[in-house]
């Protein structure tokens, strides 16, 4: 480890073996199934929606008589606008799908039972939030 490494180690005092211990925590074998990724999927898509949504907000004009034109501008004229908008649209659809699949997984693995009842309640709130935001976004422009 050179001078640079020593400089960082002095300021961030975590050794490699400590880091390994933190990140190599074994995942129980019964969790190593793809359907346990269905909770992380909407979480990731949420971040994608935030990032692409902020990008689209630079051009989107929300009032009724400018909305359509501004979206047309994004799709047809702004560089890569079609791409950013497509990601946002697909992300919205896939997020709803992933949340529902996640809820199905939670239901069929019985993961809502004691002591996870609160998880289920929070989850229901998240489901409603996802559907509401999806609906309001969809109502901005239809095509």
């Amino acid at each position: 480890m050179g001078v640079v490494g020593a400089w960082f180690r002095e300021r961030i005092p975590i050794s490699g073996s400590q880091l390994k211990e933190l990140t190599n925590e074994p995942v129980p074998n019964h969790l190593k199934r793809w359907w346990f990724c269905l909770g992380g999927t909407p979480a990731y898509l949420f971040v994608v929606q935030i990032v692409t949504g902020i990008l689209l907000a630079f051009y989107y004009k929300p009032s009724p008589d400018t909305a359509y034109e501004s979206v047309r501008y994004i799709t047809d004229e702004a560089a890569f606008g079609w791409y950013v908008r497509s990601i946002h649209k697909w992300g919205a659809t896939l997020m709803v799908a992933a949340v529902i699949l996640h809820q199905i997984r939670v239901f069929f693995t019985g993961a809502y039972r004691r002591p996870r009842e609160m998880n289920w309640m929070v989850g229901m709130c998240l489901l409603i939030c996802t559907l509401t935001v999806g609906f309001t976004g969809y109502s901005r422009i239809r095509c």
């Binding site: 990032v51 630079f58 004229e77 702004a78 560089a79 890569f80 606008g81 791409y83 950013v84």
Partner: protein, 196 residues
């Protein structure tokens, strides 16, 4: 780690080599993937620049007699009428401002005529009949400049878009070659004497 669970000599070494390679591949993939996205986001946010007017050569000033006109074709195929009146030049689009049909010069009536809804324009491009007159529309004009005896036309963004449309339309439903512009077949009628 010493009993070498992979079996065979060198298993340990091979494993660390593979994990190093897959680690590098994974980080490389993430960096290039997110890097591409950051690039795209930057391009998306960077304000679109208006293309500057391109100056294209039209003709030698000496070759255009006062009172005559010529049909200039843009690289994309749009026609622009360039007319000379005394020492002044005027460049008129051949796109009807009503609904975008091609207008043509009728020498015998000294007017531009649009066949779609009987639009009429006088020699300066002002609407004098049909829908263009009702809406007080004129044929759009283009900047011209004379430099050392040569005449140039300034093609704006609008023309670039027009050209795009012309090209797209042609490649969609017309064979290559002369388009549906009647003047390509009936030159004499279109290049008739121009008086302003």
């Amino acid at each position: 780690m010493s009993e070498n669970p992979d079996g065979g000599p060198g298993g340990e070494e091979r494993r660390s080599f593979l994990s190093r390679v897959s680690g590098v591949a994974m980080i490389g993939g993430l960096v290039s993937g997110y890097g591409a996205f950051v690039h795209i986001a930057g391009r998306f946010l960077y304000p679109a620049r208006k293309p500057e007017a391109r100056w294209l050569y039209v003709a030698r000033v000496a070759d255009v007699a006062p009172g005559t006109a010529l049909a200039f074709q843009t690289p994309g195929g749009s026609r622009i009428t360039v007319a000379r009146r005394g020492d002044d030049f005027i460049a008129l689009s051949s796109i009807c401002p009503h609904l975008g049909c091609q207008v043509r010069w009728e020498a015998q009536h000294e007017r531009f005529f649009c066949p779609c809804h009987n639009g009429v324009f006088d020699a300066t491009g002002k609407g004098t009949g049909g829908p263009p007159k009702d809406a007080d529309q004129s044929l759009s004009t283009f900047p011209l400049k004379v430099d050392r005896g040569l005449l140039y036309i300034g093609l704006t963004e609008e023309v670039a878009e027009l050209d795009d449309d012309v090209l797209r339309e042609d490649s969609r439903d017309a064979p290559p070659g002369p388009g549906h512009d009647p003047c390509l077949f009936e030159r004499p009628r279109c290049d008739g004497e121009w008086r302003v």
